[in-house]
Symmetry: D2
Subunit: 459 residues, 4 copies
């Protein structure tokens, strides 16, 4: 296993990572990239074991409903890259099982890769969403055939791929990119039915970075995002050669969706768990700031907090129901129920902005007008700020100001905006969740109830 420092050293491998137009040789040299780098390194140190043959314990799957539930605190405390590595490995394991019937040649390769990845203690990033071009057309009918990642050359020892993957979190900080088709493919789209693992430093790979990390001012004014930011990337594959042992699907259109479906099983627990915690966190912020503002007993303030608590509890109920009805893969790995997970994500995403509105309504304009912590450092200003930001009664000016900064950072600034967009878009947007609903809801039961009410029930 690797220590954090070994991990950091391992990234100096010639990778082509760009930030704000410049090629970045040393990720640590840019504060916005150093923060996630160090977060992942800390994750390495956390799980490090010097035992020979040791592997990261969180890269295995729960094999009972109880283990599934116990995994929640682990996932929600984990750094993002360790989590996506876990998801990637689990995805490959399940995909291997599912390919046994129709694409058996890939199975040993996949299992080998999983074993080696565990041993080498590498970090792996999932790469799904393609550039997509014109969304009303399939891959094979785009003006630019590279709008979806595809095989442009097949050689004896591997394939050459071209295209780009978008919205890839932390791509620059892992070792391998797990490329998989974004959707099912049809006959004639064989070149798009490609799944493989690409080293980040493979020739032809380029990675951009976009971040919500604060880029100026006092970091204390961003108490969360100063420590937690993860850049999103466009990962470009410019005729990248992938050796055969790293190719996990090539041309089997009927199996193209296996990887994305498998991934879906593993990413949802983390997503919904995070939404539940986030909803509770918003309740907490609303409660603290109402108290600090001296408005906690005002009726309309209480009712808004009530609605936030109801929202958070409904999401928690959705998670509980998904765990109660956990399902097992044929291999005996447990994952939360699709339908309950899905409606919880929908509700969380659809109501998120309404909850933000409540929080802003309760907190007041000082969310965006409070002085900086650096203003508090100025000895001339500090007494005034303490005096006028305080509301008496043991609520210090600095304490209340820090609450405002936390609310701004989480809900009314770059990081807050990122949450608003990604809460909606993760898992494919509200419409995607409606499609899952259509597929999973027990419509026949509902129709039978309705027919009975109408006196039209069967024989």
């Amino acid at each position: 296993m690797l220590t954090g420092q070994q991990y950091k050293d391992s990234l100096k491998d010639g990778r082509r990572v760009y930030y704000e137009g410049a090629l970045i040789e040393d990720l640590e040299s840019v504060p916005e990239l150093a923060v996630p780098l160090n977060a992942v390194a800390a994750g390495y140190d956390k799980y490090f074991s010097a035992e020979p043959g040791a592997v990261n314990p969180v890269t295995t799957a729960p094999t009972s409903p109880r283990e599934l539930r116990d995994r929640i605190p682990v996932i929600t405390e984990m750094d993002l890259l360790t989590n996506t590595t876990y998801q990637s490995l689990m995805t490959l394991s399940v995909a291997a099982a599912r390919l046994e019937e129709h694409a058996p040649d890939f199975v040993p390769r996949i299992r080998d890769y999983v074993r080696r990845a565990r041993e080498a203690d590498i970090r792996i990033t999932e790469c799904i969403t393609d550039a997509k071009g014109n969304r009303s057309l399939p891959p094979s009918r785009q003006d630019d055939p590279d709008a979806y990642v595809r095989v442009v050359e097949r050689r004896a020892d591997g394939v050459v791929i071209r295209g780009a993957k978008l919205h890839i979190s932390a791509a620059a900080f892992g070792h391998d990119l797990m490329v998989m088709p974004t959707k099912s493919m049809k006959p004639g789209e064989e070149d798009y039915a490609i799944a493989c693992a690409v080293p980040v430093n493979a020739p032809g790979v380029l990675i951009t970075n976009t971040t919500y990390h604060p880029r100026g001012g006092d970091m204390r004014d961003h108490p969360v995002s100063a420590h937690e930011s993860i850049p999103d990337s466009m990962v470009i594959f410019d005729d990248v050669f992938v050796p055969a042992e790293r190719v996990f699907l090539d041309g089997q259109t009927a199996q193209a969706a296996v990887f994305a479906h498998s991934l879906g099983l593993w990413e949802r627990l983390g997503g919904v768990s995070f939404m539940v915690i986030q909803a509770d966190e918003l309740v907490g912020l609303a409660s603290l700031i109402a108290e600090a503002n001296g408005t906690a007993k005002i009726s309309h303030v209480r009712e808004k907090i009530d609605e936030m608590m109801i929202h958070a509890t409904l999401l928690r109920a959705g998670l509980e129901a998904a765990l109660l009805h956990a399902r097992a893969t044929p291999e005996g790995y447990y994952y939360p129920d699709d339908m309950y997970t899905n409606v919880t994500k929908y509700q969380g995403a659809a109501q998120f902005n309404a909850m933000i509105r409540h929080l802003h309504d309760i907190a007041g304009g000082a969310v965006v007008t409070s002085p900086s912590m650096s203003d508090f450092d100025n000895p001339e200003l500090r007494p005034y700020l303490e005096k006028y930001m305080s509301t008496g009664d043991g609520v210090s000016g600095e304490y209340r100001t820090r609450l405002f900064h936390a609310i701004r950072d989480l809900t009314a600034d770059s990081y807050g905006g990122w949450h608003q967009v990604t809460n909606l878009q993760s898992g494919g947007g509200l419409f995607a969740q409606r499609l899952v609903t259509r597929k999973n809801y027990d419509l026949e039961r509902a129709r039978a109830l309705a027919l009975k009410a109408a006196g039209l029930g069967g024989a």
Copy 2:
């Protein structure tokens, strides 16, 4: 145990039941009252056993989470009066346990009453909500001291009570009225701390009836309410004498709320279970009518049905979470978790009208303009109605018309209006559910999360 016929005969006991201004001697003589009468009689026949010493099996409480879950289909299929009898008996059993410390004298009386009620196989109605007068004043400060039911005379052998209870379902169809305080009482309000069981035919008891039962036209145009209606009553106690053995609390203000709280445990499973079924039923109606209208594939219609399915599934998740976290009374009886039940009721009530809007939007104006089934009986009209209410493709005019009648009956007529009001008001209105939320939500956990985000988390 009683047969249905024995039950019906037993109600001819001199009770003073009014309907539309008239004293009704024979409940069966009025169609709007005969329907619920026969529904309860059918319930008697369903559970009847000629075994000596047999008692109704559904009047005992679940003693495990599994039994709690298994009770759902039983409750939702049960006639209302059997259900309220069950709730009443369970309430008394739990209340007896809770009174042991501070009001032990009542305990043997209550247990005796429960035993006798089971043996006699009677039906019992809960009477909680008082007239209340001016809602901003407590019972003891009302202009009219009878605004809450109270003891007006205490005799050696019992008490005399006066007042009225409102919104009492099926009061005219049971044998006993279980009177209990609607809320906690304060010192000085001893006369209002009265719980007792009053025979419906006790001198001084008068019962009005208000119903959503269809009162004209063709009953087939009301496929649900023609068979399922239950009148709501005002129950008046005009100086009614209650013998001591039927008095379960008298003057112990500190214990006044014990009965209502106990009742709360038992009524919630039925309430939430019904909401879940109702939500599924609305999905079913939307799906069937969209199909019959030929609009099931139109995008905006599908999306509305999606939202209805998501709503129904969220409610189901709330019920599942409440069952998963079922709690036990000290006696070992299981009931669903308060908080999850409560938010589910809130969500179900708060969103009900939005779901109705979706259904009406999907179904179209024919919900309120479709011809009567009696029009279909007219041989001259029928061919035209079949022709023009059909949408081709195997959808007969009569079938589609029946769907419209079911939708109207359930959502756009007397019964639908009753649902809209009672879904909101059951359990005390949206505001009452907010109060429960405040009491049960784990606010400390939420505040700790928020403090941590703000970098203000303690040691």
Copy 3:
């Protein structure tokens, strides 16, 4: 001009009107039909003038924005049938002007008909919505070619039509049915491009009736619908001969939509005006019942009434904007702006159920459980009802009960359900209003603003 009695007599003309499966010879003999009959008769008496050559003054159009505004109280006080007659005549007048270029032969016929209808002081009902069959198919591709009203025979002296029109208000109470295409037609659908005026008693016309009028119990429990009900009808045309002078379009598919578009101009003022009044009425009911319940000062009750007031004022703003931007036809008749009218209808319809929820939440369960006024008539019951329905402080039991009945009648019973459905469906459902929005919104202005923000504007 006709008096009310002359009008009533004029309907005894052999028309085939059905109610609950029976042919009704005398409309006055059925209470549910007598109410609208007498309402229309009262309208006749109201406008009656014995002057020779007098015509109903409200059947002419406003010729200035001021006249348009002044028309609102007239329309909202008018009986429905006089209003639809006005709309029909205005529709024909505007349609005549629009047909001058491409279908000039019909113009003199239409103008003649309008003149004669005014002179004869008849009442005319618009018949638009067809049976429609499978909604995903056009008229010409239905299984049943009669799913849309069509010409089945053309004779020298007129045409024979077949089909049915649905959702026709008050069809049985007028003299003529103004048949017009429900939508635009395409080449090949000539037989469906038919507009004409059909006497209600023409051979082959059959009319069903569906009503929300109370059909039992005490009429005082339905303080509104007992006096205001209008049945909705299916109007069947079973090979009805229409003489040439009553045919206003026949086969000109390109002009088929002219009538429906013209009608749209005239019906919208009434529709939106009614919504504004209805919203204010709901505010008033909420305010009165909160006061009667003694809850008018409770914070959450006040906030719900606030939201209802904001809703009502927004609708009023929409009406005001539509009047301010009133437009004129080429003939100089004024009508309210399409876009503002349309968004007002959308908002009113989309939010109606939410407002009903607020009202029910404020009013409480007694909306559906209050005793009948006939219970108040019973001298034994009355003192109790007065006592227990009163909340003290000058709020009598009867007064409060009457408020509950008004709320039930308007929002939680047959009439309330009818409102919920028709508020949504009038003008074609929420989706139809979206289409109007797409057509009328100034999207170019909006896009220019956005391009400017993105720094992409300009040359």
Copy 4:
């Protein structure tokens, strides 16, 4: 009048302006402050006239409804500081008229000040919101008596004030601070009934700055906020002497609210006009990005844009109604109707987050993951970015990326967060708008309608 350069020079007057903890001698030296400085300077140049005696023409009030309407484009194009100067001068003019009866001594002073301010062509900032301390207590009962700005000393030639004003936009960029009470005051609170004009460079004035201006990265990624930002300030008055001729109220508690009410008249037109434009701008962004994504014809995308158009049009209707019912002050100055303005602000604020959700749902995750414009500058990256951000069909990668940046900047970053908070909070938060509604809605009309419906309308 001053030129832009003269204005900039005039600010080098010893003022104590802080930014991120440092005292800033030259506002132009800090990019985040230079942007607003230059925006105000450009405003000076725009209105500059070298004519002797010329005054800024936009600092006078509309004297007819037409002038009021014509003012909208002027206001929405104006720099913020010119606008607040206009509002300040109008507020003083109206306040002077209103003080004539009860505080006549101040009237000539105010009029003099207004005349001199116009002549000197200075810029004036309104300072209203106090620190407030414990919001459940009035000024006179706070722990810290300075929680509201107050007079701490009265001298023959003026007063000394102490306290702080919060949420002050552009305070560092004007010449005078117009201090006024934030609310009505009661007897005993005379020291808080203070209104006066304080030069920014008066000894004892300190100003902090908080900004949403981008603080790093490529300014082209923030196409709006890079050019439009205005800092918000806390303005501290540490025993500032104000000479008598600049004191406009001192101790007249009954008149304390006159200034805030007058200000309310003038600020609302700009606020609502901006909301209407903003709503249209969001529609435009949604339309452009849907088109660029190739999703403009997808049904659910169209429906979301429909809802955004309906929202924008409803707001516009509210503005139109407010203008149609414009009211005049006794001096003949026109301002938009209170009630219509208020409900429009409420609706705009309450629905803003829902509209943002629609836009994010339509736009997709690239809102927060798109490459920087500086990435496009890199010749190695540019071809890939053009290729993969393009969707074919004439939509260039750069064009689409710029749209994403505009959406991020306006809705999902610092500036977007600032809008979300300030849209809610301007004018006092949603609850404040409810209070205005309660005060202005014609409740009697609504109750009369309800009584009539209930059959309770008296003689």
